[in-house]
Symmetry: C2
Subunit: 132 residues, 2 copies
């Protein structure tokens, strides 16, 4: 069950909210390679947004190699191992966070604990969804 919600009042653009939540569903295994995404008009109807906005989210997901258009004209989740470009972009964003953490007095161990804490709370939330 693909649950996605958008906040029209948030500062985060709607297309990015959609993008982020699809990536999240993939990250917890709720969306797996081979699974189809809803048609952009369908998704737009459910979320009560314009289908162009959904298309923008799908476009970026495709540009990043996370989804692909299959022969039947439907978007499907790909297996998308980390490539150099994605890694580089992720490093830049992570560097900003690490800078802020250090600027506020964190040391290296505290940063690792910070990461561990987020991953643990993630696993707790999706305990039932984990396989095996």
């Amino acid at each position: 069950m693909l649950t996605i919600s958008v906040d029209h009042n948030a500062k985060t653009p709607i297309y990015k909210q959609i993008f982020d939540q699809i990536v999240h569903h993939i990250s917890i295994g709720e969306l797996q390679p081979g699974n189809y995404l809803p048609a952009s008009r369908t998704m737009a109807g459910i979320l009560d947004v314009n289908f162009h906005t959904v298309n923008k989210a799908y476009d970026i997901l495709r540009d990043q190699g996370i989804i692909a258009l299959s022969r039947n004209k439907k978007y499907v989740v790909k297996n998308s191992p980390m490539d150099d470009l994605s890694l580089h972009r992720l490093e830049e964003r992570e560097s900003e966070i690490i800078d802020e953490a250090f600027a506020r007095g964190f040391n290296e161990k505290e940063i690792h604990d910070f990461i561990t804490g987020i991953i643990k709370s993630r696993n707790r939330k999706n305990k039932g969804a984990l396989k095996k």
Copy 2:
């Protein structure tokens, strides 16, 4: 020596480029609590941007408690330990990155190695600047 540069063609807003670089200088100890920031007009002249743009960066730094206006009307770097709000914001940004990493097949150890690598390369770059 406070070296800051802006890229007018980058997609990242100029005020955020300035914000990020000041935070970076603090994070590596090149800017320390008690140090003054250049006057916004001075900084703007050096970077060849409008002083309102510098003010916006300073405003956000002040809102986040990273700098403060001292009695002589100059901005000074504060000691700004992690507070609940800052931690929460950082967690949200970090969660996005962790989601993308997991979505691309990283496991928990690979994420920690990813973090460690960034910190190590940071330390290498600033070896000479480290004290003691």
